[in-house]
């Protein structure tokens, strides 16, 4: 009986692993899917920011670990927050990042994206997927690196670095300052206020 169990398990494990796409494959397929939709969708090209946000919510958000991102941005202040506050913080931070990401992606115009070969061992549980966006003209390509972790639900992104600038740690000082002056609730309030501001859909409208 026991042997049969072990045998069954042994059979199951490789199947479970095989179902998770490799991190670099995952990033590439999601980006390509999103870019294809951006290029095709007439509403998005006309500046429909709501639609871009929806696109990000359905295609991109499921592959991000927002709790971990918020934890990194909060650093030591994470412990000051109650479990409820942590949940609200992660939700508000997620909204802010999704809106930021959709602003950035609305500016996308046919730039070429190159994916670098993944330098990782099979047993690694944290990897960096590197890519480069080549802008038009002679300016240097901009690196976009995805820090990813292996979870039971597949690989999840927990940081994005654009030209070496981390989307997450760049918020650390701002968050720490808010918490120092107005407490965790103060930070939640200012995040919520920021998220209520109207969307900046196109570069020209700021």
């Amino acid at each position: 009986m026991k042997i049969a169990h072990c045998f069954l398990l042994a059979l199951l494990i490789p199947v479970a692993q095989a179902q998770q796409p490799a991190p670099d494959v995952l990033v590439k397929s999601i980006s390509e899917e999103v870019v294809a939709i951006l290029k095709k969708d007439k509403d998005i090209q006309a500046g429909d920011s709501k639609k871009v946000v929806d696109l990000i919510e359905t295609k991109v958000v499921p592959h991000f670990d927002f709790i971990r991102m918020t934890r990194i941005a909060m650093a030591r202040n994470w412990r000051l927050a109650s479990p409820e506050q942590q949940k609200v913080l992660a939700d508000e931070f997620k909204t802010l990042l999704v809106r930021t990401y959709s602003t950035a992606i609305s500016n996308y115009r046919d730039q070429q994206i190159d994916y670098k070969p993944l330098r990782a061992k099979l047993e690694d549980t944290e990897v960096t997927v590197r890519s480069e966006v080549k802008p038009s003209g002679s300016s240097q390509p901009v690196s976009i690196d995805y820090e990813m972790e292996k979870t039971p639900n597949g690989w999840k992104v927990y940081d994005v670095k654009v030209g070496g600038v981390s989307l997450v740690t760049t918020y650390r000082d701002t968050f720490a300052g808010e918490v120092r002056e107005h407490g965790v609730d103060g930070l939640i309030k200012s995040l919520a206020a920021k998220n209520r501001q109207p969307e900046r859909s196109k570069a020209g409208k700021t």
């Binding site: 934890r71 990194i72 802010l96 602003t103 002679s138 070496g164 720490a176 300052g177 900046r200």
Partner: protein
């Protein structure tokens, strides 16, 4: 003269009161109160003059012309970039960048076309501040320069030398030199219009966001894209 003094005093005072309102926390930014004043001045100048002109520039000129203008200035920069490659001991890149200049200046018609990039000789990003960094000079305090924007003590010194080596400054005839300088500034700002709209959307506190992004970016550039991981603080990422 007295007026300038009074203005400076007013700026300093404003800086101090701004500092009281938002006590800084970043050890890399001891000059935060003063920096915030210069930052808001720059931001106001950008909103009132620089950004509208850059936007008009982008609206009026077709992409291919704007790329040509950017390429022209970028080609002039490549000379000083190759000097900095060599100063940092990166001889192969120094030769490549000099090759870029020679190739683009001739076949690329005074640098208007960047054929070297298409042939696989990618542009590098170097300046004297990065060279100082690669020699082990720490960045020093964060510094917001009037109009020129984010910098540090080290990069400010670097910029002094970069300016001396700037070919646009060497051109005789003040009107030519000034109009070239202005065109370059506007072309550079136009290239950043998209990025600045992302920052507006992203930042809770624009000053702190720009500072922290800038400091990370410079560190990344000094290490040519592969900075060592910063000392891990056990409290940096609490597990619970």
């Amino acid at each position: 003269m007295a007026e300038v003094k009074r203005l400076c005093a007013a700026l300093l005072l404003a800086g101090m009161s701004a500092g009281c309102a938002t006590s800084g926390g970043n050890p890399a930014d001891p000059l935060e109160p003063l920096n915030r004043v210069v930052f808001s001045f720059n931001d106001a100048a950008d909103k009132a003059v620089i950004k509208p002109v850059a936007r008009a520039y982008r609206a009026v000129l077709p992409g291919i012309v704007r790329t040509g203008v950017s390429n022209f200035f970028s080609n002039l920069e490549d000379i000083w970039i190759s000097v900095n490659d060599v100063l940092q001991g990166k001889f192969q890149e120094g030769i490549d960048d000099l090759g870029r200049v020679l190739f683009n200046s001739t076949f690329g018609i005074a640098g208007i076309f960047d054929f070297a990039s298409q042939l696989g000789f990618q542009k590098h990003n170097e300046d004297f501040g990065q060279t100082l960094g690669s020699w082990g000079v720490g960045s020093g305090a964060y510094l917001v320069l009037p109009i020129l924007g984010p910098s540090t003590i080290r990069d400010g010194f670097g910029l002094l030398l970069d300016t001396q080596a700037d070919l646009v400054f060497k051109i005789d005839g003040v009107p030519v030199h000034n109009s070239l300088y202005g065109t370059r500034a506007i072309a550079n700002r136009a290239n950043l219009l998209d990025a600045s709209s992302v920052i507006e959307q992203a930042a809770l506190d624009k000053y702190a966001f720009v500072r922290d992004a800038w400091l990370q970016r410079r560190r990344n550039l000094v290490y040519d894209g592969n900075p060592p991981r910063e000392r891990e603080d056990p409290d940096d990422e609490p597990t619970k």
